[in-house]
Symmetry: C2
């Protein structure tokens, strides 16, 4: 097992009716900013619940609101919130939304006290390790998928230059996150499907590499995959079923809260290629993962076949003596699961005029100087080309 | 799934050679107390590693030592450390040892600023939620088993009155814990066996109850059990095998760091009965669990048979249609595993003159006013009698 440090100070508050606890979780005598996205919180009742909980501890003039944080949150938008916080002397931010709103708030939190050009936080990958550098924040999750509610990373896009960049550091964990699984009841089926596949692929990126000594991490990763496979097809049909909803939401957090990555190699090339499909064709993030993942496993079969066979045996209960046969069947089982979850696993099913996709992506990676990706750093531009062309 | 709060701010630093990181983890400009037990740290080299790491940041006159914390740490001993801390104006405690030393340091941490009779911390079950109430502490683990390195609970015995009592609260998490799996190399085989069975039973107490909706928690619990079954027999023979050691030590932490208990019912009656066997006959804690656990499952069979069958299928790969038959076989598999791990699973194999054990334990529980235990509060004194007599 590789050496690791596990540090995750988020107070994670899970369950029905937990939004009411906001009144005890948000610090008193502080002016707070409620940050949100496109306004779905007004339709699903979460805004009203948040305001009702806060009204017990806060006077109305101690609460400022900032809406309009986009999916794939924009630096330009977030800097407007930074200006509001500086002007209004805000001491605490409450992110109410999904991964984009929470990611956006992480950037806002880091930018307020940053001296110099705040874009450097992203471009120079400044790490925030000291909580005195940032504005503390909590979250109320409304869309499970990204795990942002229980990790310290974020992705932000600079609109002007079309750069999608990351930030992070141990000071950027939420102080608390309230996760009420009943919030998924009002989500469109497409978003629920995306959430399941996004969480599933987060696990695969950290699990489907090569055999190693971290036995318990493998078991936990397999447990999350099994749970998502068991509940996925049903939860998108019956999101008001609390058993299904609660296991989905908790699995999505556990998929990317840092635990299963400790001590193990990880891949993340599916995400890196998928991001380009979103940039090119605006295909939903999760749907790009469903397209790329299985073809990446096929192209990198020699690297991954032992782990694919373990996955096939333990997660899909496949049997047999041939590592290769079980590994191949495991990929087919995965694709079939993605189809059950409403994914279209070819680029051509998601967009027209895709013929130059491989050229475009390979060029882009080469421009950035990326020589290789993946857990063995053997997913070269040529392999990327093969994966993308196989995905047409 | 039951509502839950998950909060665990321990900076858990795992792996080979990590003790060296002490120089960055212990706060500077603070006088520190190194607390330890019977002196095994002088034989296994951990003391020297700790002193070497600290010498890089601390002058010798900023380090005070306190040894002699017993297994089942005594209130009377710990109060001597409290006096040292008050006199020497210590600002940070470093616990170097196993669960007893770490539990003892949690009490010391809580008692220093406590006004009034410190025994009330235990007798009145005072919760410590505010870090300003306590002296911060870190740990260097030398004996895996209890999970104390990553939780906020402790057990302390008041010698004068023979009371074994608990304390806890979110302020009593270690600030950091350094867990180097190579420390187990020098442990006696008996302690390694005990550590595996202690960790295994910690999982069973939180898992082996009745079927519920927390699907992922079950999977994680089963993953820890499977890992301990896979490595247990070998790690006690080859503790210097890093693959075995690292999975054992990490599994022991995960068994009782709070994660698998979230959202689920738990039992803990095996521990409560087992504690009395230790008090009566000084049988090692883990060995009392190996005696009581299987007989508790037998006596409470009607309550636990569905979960026993799930455990049999998923952890032991048992097959068949009869819930009862699989459940029974699962108990036998568990006993056989305990025997493989060197446990003697009858009281009569561990002590002579045991005939009045059931009377004694049942009387003791009745004196305390305990009417029932277990996840369904149906382990009555009469059931306890049956379990203990079956264990003769």
């Amino acid at each position: 097992m590789q050496n690791f440090e596990l540090y995750n100070p988020v107070n994670y508050v899970f369950g029905k009716g937990q939004i009411e606890k906001l009144k005890n979780l948000v610090p008193e005598n502080t002016k707070i900013l409620i940050a949100y996205g496109g306004g779905s919180i007004f339709k699903n009742g979460v805004y009203d619940q948040v305001k009702a909980a806060l009204s017990k501890s806060f006077k109305a003039n101690h609460i400022v609101e900032f809406g309009g944080i986009e999916p794939n949150p924009r630096y330009e938008t977030l800097m407007k919130a930074v200006a509001v916080i500086r002007e209004e002397k805000i001491g605490f931010i409450l992110a109410v939304g999904g991964g984009s709103v929470i990611d956006g708030v992480k950037f806002i939190s880091a930018a307020v006290h940053y001296e110099g050009d705040a874009a450097d936080i992203l471009r120079k990958r400044i790490l925030f390790k000291d909580v005195s550098q940032v504005i503390p924040f909590g979250t109320v999750l409304t869309l499970p998928a990204t795990g942002s509610e229980m990790n310290s990373g974020a992705v932000v896009t600079i609109e002007a230059t079309q750069e999608k960049l990351t930030l992070g550091g141990s000071a950027l964990f939420p102080v608390f996150s309230i996760v009420d699984p009943t919030v998924i009841t009002s989500l469109p089926k497409r978003q629920l499907q995306n959430g399941v596949i996004d969480a599933f692929t987060h696990v695969m990126e950290q699990y489907l590499t090569y055999p190693h000594d971290a036995m318990l991490q493998d078991r936990i990763a397999e447990g999350i995959l099994q749970t998502l496979i068991e509940i996925g097809p049903d939860v998108v049909e019956n999101p008001s079923d609390y058993k299904l909803a609660s296991n989905f939401v908790w699995s999505a957090t556990m998929a990317l809260n840092g635990l299963i990555q400790k001590g193990v190699p990880s891949d993340w090339a599916t995400h890196m290629i998928g991001h380009e499909l979103t940039a090119l064709y605006e295909i939903d993030h999760a749907r790009t993962l469903a397209i790329i993942g299985p073809n990446l496993y096929r192209v990198m079969f020699d690297t991954k076949k032992e782990k694919l066979a373990q996955y096939g045996k333990r997660v899909w209960n496949l049997t047999g003596d041939s590592t290769e046969a079980i590994a191949e069947e495991a990929i087919e089982k995965t694709v079939a699961f993605f189809h059950t979850m409403g994914m279209k696993t070819k680029i051509s099913e998601n967009t027209d005029n895709y013929e130059n996709t491989a050229d475009f992506i390979v060029n882009r990676f080469e421009e950035r100087g990326w020589k290789a990706m993946g857990e063995k750093q053997n997913i070269t531009p040529e392999k990327v080309r093969e994966i993308v062309e196989m995905s047409y």
